[in-house]
């Protein structure tokens, strides 16, 4: 959290010092990508659940890479440096399940996160090829961890849903390669790595009921951005 505050302070200082900034020179981008999510604690939980069940279950999903979307807006603060807010929505999950003539059972863990932060962009090279930039993004993940257990025997169904919430700061360094498609429209490929900086999950509506399990969003990502630039 401390590091996160330092970074945010730097960005603010840079922004304040941007006497030469032109607020009309901005870009808006839409992001679509995919990423890997390391969910060690939740996989352990799946094993524990599997061991307690009186019947065998299959692992249907085990936190697979899953598409995410988002967007950002970048304002050119000065030459070679832009700053702007960014948003991404991530989700992944797992399922243990069994189904036969007598009924159905599954245990789902579904994670989703609204990642909101500030993104700083540094121009590294600009030539005939793609524009190469370094980006650093900092912010918080508004994460939801939903556990859903469902049993159907004949006409009887029982379901139990538990939802945890957490606000987790993060840093996400990345590089971007930009190809201009037209005067205002560009295509960007951006590999990144998400680094969680902590945060504790608690029951929805009861912040004091916390868990030691640590669902996280750490992992490499790659995204494809479509960007619109306001000035020529």
């Amino acid at each position: 959290m401390k590091n996160y505050l330092i970074l945010l302070l730097i960005l603010i200082i840079a922004s304040v010092n941007a006497q030469e900034s032109d607020l009309t020179d901005f870009r808006i981008g839409f992001t679509h990508g995919t990423g890997l999510y390391f969910q060690h604690d939740l996989k352990v939980l799946n094993n524990e659940v599997e061991n307690t069940l009186p019947f065998d279950v299959k692992t249907v999903n085990n936190f697979p890479p899953w598409p995410f979307t988002g967007g950002y807006a970048m304002i050119q603060i000065r030459k070679g440096f832009a700053l702007g807010p960014a948003y991404q929505f991530h989700t992944t999950g797992s399922r243990l399940g069994q189904k036969d003539y007598s009924g159905r059972y599954y245990f789902d863990q579904i994670l989703s996160s609204h990642a909101l932060g500030l993104q700083g962009e540094f121009l590294l090279s600009e030539g005939s090829g793609p524009v190469f930039r370094f980006l650093i993004k900092g912010g918080v993940n508004f994460s939801t961890w939903k556990l859903k257990e469902n049993l159907v025997i004949g006409y009887n169904e029982e379901e139990d849903i538990t939802i945890f919430k957490a606000v987790c700061p993060f840093l996400e360094p990345s590089f971007s390669f930009t190809w201009r498609l037209s005067n205002r429209l560009s295509a960007i490929i951006c590999p990144a790595f998400h680094i969680g900086l902590g945060g504790k999950y608690h029951l929805k509506g009861n912040s004091s009921a916390t868990t030691d399990k640590k669902p996280g969003w750490n992992g490499p990502r790659i995204s494809f951005n479509l960007e619109y630039r306001n000035q020529l």
Binding site: T69, G93, Q98, S102, Y106
Partner: protein, 635 residues
């Protein structure tokens, strides 16, 4: 496009695009559906009754054989309301305690539901949501009827014992019946059985043998309760005469041969007693031949069934017995006194206040007259048989034997009823009377006058008048016992001869024969004398015993040995033993035309006795000592 509009567009786009992770569908596991009906199972319940009868809290035990299924839960419901649920664990006691206080008396239903898994491997099977339910509906009667003493219903004699039936107590408070037996015969008590089936209210007591005096007890939920005595009597044995002195005794075989040690047949009779005891150890044997049955007495055959377990506590006298009485010979009228009517086939029988004529040849009996006798043996028949007389209320009455006309009616103050001892009639219408006070008086029946009278010092006389009425023989019991022979001359008893009997002579009887002979009977000796001058005609020895009868027409004499029933028929003049037989003079014995009669109402034809018997009798008679003659003391 303003920046605000661009953001609005972006937010809408992101909202639509941002969908939460959706897990994949679960592939179905193909497991075979188990059959709707499960395999049969075996349920064992305690108590093992079709209807559960309860008076209070009850422990119900159960066990289930359900292979290959596995029972995992048992549910108990009373009238469809769950009262208890148990996990089925065969390693623990499978039982419940069912409280009944909350239920009214009457019929309820206890349902026991056994849950068994299907073993299909499905989700529902694994979590216990799938299985077979086996429901057992058990009628349950709440019955708080209190216990009470039970009544015996019957004792039924059956093969191998006695079936004891008692009042049934088919109420919930039932625990057991205890049937016990107290036996007087064994002087001990035993518990015969303890029955836990309330519907079994009978028991076959195979230890019971006919004749046992038993006291049964039926206890309800306790060792003892109501008592009732039961004892059987054997059926009396049947006696059939199979020979002159032999009988065949038959009886019913025991119903319980396993308990019989032996049949006890006891022969009991009158003096001289000749008791015999027979033990027949074969249960299948039901008859016994007994020889040497005596004529003239009542033989009593006592039958007992003696049980096998006759230990030191056994008392045979406590066994019930049955008895049958038997008298040897053919039937004839019973009587107190019998007098032979010489020259006829008739006997004059006196019974109570009646006189009969009995024809020994035809067996016909004819009433003669009925009159209150002072003493039955006062009836006397004249030596010719033409008339007879008797004493009655101070009179001596004489009738014609044939016409029954009253010939003489002698009334005299000399006839006090209580002093008369013996009368003798003579052919010349004389009556000799001896009295207990020692008087001897001869009367003239025609005139009623005394002919002669003599007073003896002895209080007891035995005197007889000769057939012609002129001589009197007296035995004076004043010691030493003297025999006196008188002639009535004018009005005097003139002594012609006298002799003292030697010690142990024990002569008692004498009699005149119709042909004027005097027979003196001593112990083991007979003297035949001339009734006119007392001279000795003949004498012979005879077996020691009593002379109990004589028959001058058949020339026979009947002698019974002392203390035994052995008797001999003897030629009265020569002393030859003609026949040996078993006879007792327990009642009046007489002889007529070869027929021996008994006052008990039996007759025996001498001709039916075998020659073999005679031979053995002769052999025995040769061993008898003959006492010396008294000839030298004759005056």
């Amino acid at each position: 496009m303003s920046i605000i509009r661009v953001f609005k567009f972006a937010v809408i786009l992101l909202t639509v695009y941002s969908c939460e992770f959706e897990p994949f569908r679960i592939p179905e596991n193909n497991i075979a559906t188990p059959p709707e009906t499960g395999p049969p199972i075996i349920i064992e319940l305690t108590p093992e009754t079709d209807t559960l009868k309860l008076a209070g809290p009850a422990i119900i035990r159960y066990y289930v054989k359900a292979d290959p299924l596995k029972i995992y839960r048992v549910l108990f419901l009373v009238d469809d309301i769950t009262v208890l649920q148990q996990e089925y664990n065969p390693t623990l006691p499978l039982e419940i305690t069912l409280e009944t206080r909350d239920y009214a008396e009457g019929l309820h239903v206890l349902s026991i539901v056994f849950f068994a898994s299907t073993n299909s491997g499905s989700i529902a099977d694994k979590i216990g949501a799938e299985g077979y339910a086996y429901t057992l509906n058990w009628p349950m009667v709440i019955d708080r009827t209190p216990v009470h003493n039970l009544a015996f219903i019957s004792f039924d004699p059956v093969q191998n014992g006695v079936r004891v039936v008692w009042e049934k107590f088919n109420h919930a408070a039932f625990v057991n019946y205890t049937l016990s037996k107290f036996s007087d015969t064994y002087i001990r008590n035993v518990v015969l059985t303890v029955i836990t089936d309330m519907n079994q209210n009978s028991f076959l007591d195979t230890t019971y043998l006919e004749g046992e005096k038993a006291m049964y007890s039926i206890g309800l939920n306790q060792p003892y309760g109501t008592y009732m005595q039961y004892s059987e009597y054997p059926k009396p044995p049947a006696i059939e005469q199979t020979g002159p002195s032999s009988v065949n005794v038959t009886w019913e075989r025991t119903r319980n041969p396993g308990m019989l040690d032996y049949y006890s047949l006891y022969l009991e009779n009158e003096y001289p007693v000749n008791h015999e005891k027979y033990e027949i150890h074969s249960p299948d044997t039901n008859s016994k031949r007994i020889d040497d049955i005596s004529f003239g007495k009542i033989n009593r055959f006592i039958l007992k069934y003696v049980p096998r377990e006759n230990d030191e506590y056994f008392n045979i006298d406590w066994i019930n017995y049955s008895a049958s009485e038997f008298m040897l010979g053919d039937s004839m009228p019973s009587h107190d006194v019998s007098r032979s009517v010489p020259g006829t086939d008739l006997l004059m029988l006196v019974k109570g206040s009646s006189i009969f004529r009995y024809d020994v040849e035809t067996g016909l009996s004819t009433p003669v007259l009925q009159t209150p006798f002072d003493i039955p043996w006062s009836v006397n028949v004249a030596p010719s048989g033409n008339f007879f007389g008797y004493s009655s209320h101070g009179e001596f009455i004489v009738h014609n034997t044939t016409t029954l006309d009253t010939l003489f009616r002698l009334t005299s103050p000399e006839f006090p009823d209580n002093l008369l001892f013996i009368y003798t009639l003579s052919e010349n219408n004389r009556l000799l009377a001896s009295y207990y006070d020692g008087r001897l008086i001869a009367f003239d029946l025609e005139t009623g006058a005394k002919i002669a009278e003599k007073q003896f010092l002895s209080g007891t006389l035995y005197a007889k008048l000769s057939p012609d009425g002129n001589f009197v023989m007296v035995r004076d019991y004043e010691l030493p016992t003297t025999q006196l022979f008188y002639q009535i001359v004018d009005s005097v008893f003139v002594e012609i001869a006298s002799l003292e009997e030697p010690e142990n002579a024990l002569g008692r009887y004498f009699t005149f024969s119709p042909d004027n002979k005097l027979y003196l009977f001593y112990r083991g000796r007979v003297e035949i004398r001339n009734a006119l001058d007392f001279s000795m005609i003949n004498q012979y020895s005879l077996p020691e015993g009593y002379v109990i009868a004589w028959d001058f027409e058949q020339k026979t004499l009947l002698v019974q040995q002392y203390e035994t029933d052995d008797a001999f028929l003897i030629d009265i003049d020569q002393g030859d033993i003609l026949l040996s037989m078993k006879i007792t003079n327990a009642s009046f014995i007489n002889m007529k035309n070869g027929v021996i009669t008994s006052g008990l109402g039996r007759r025996l034809n001498i001709n039916t006795l075998s020659q073999k018997t005679i031979s053995s009798a002769l052999k025995r008679a040769s061993q008898v000592n003959i006492p010396g003659s008294f000839e030298n003391v004759l005056k």
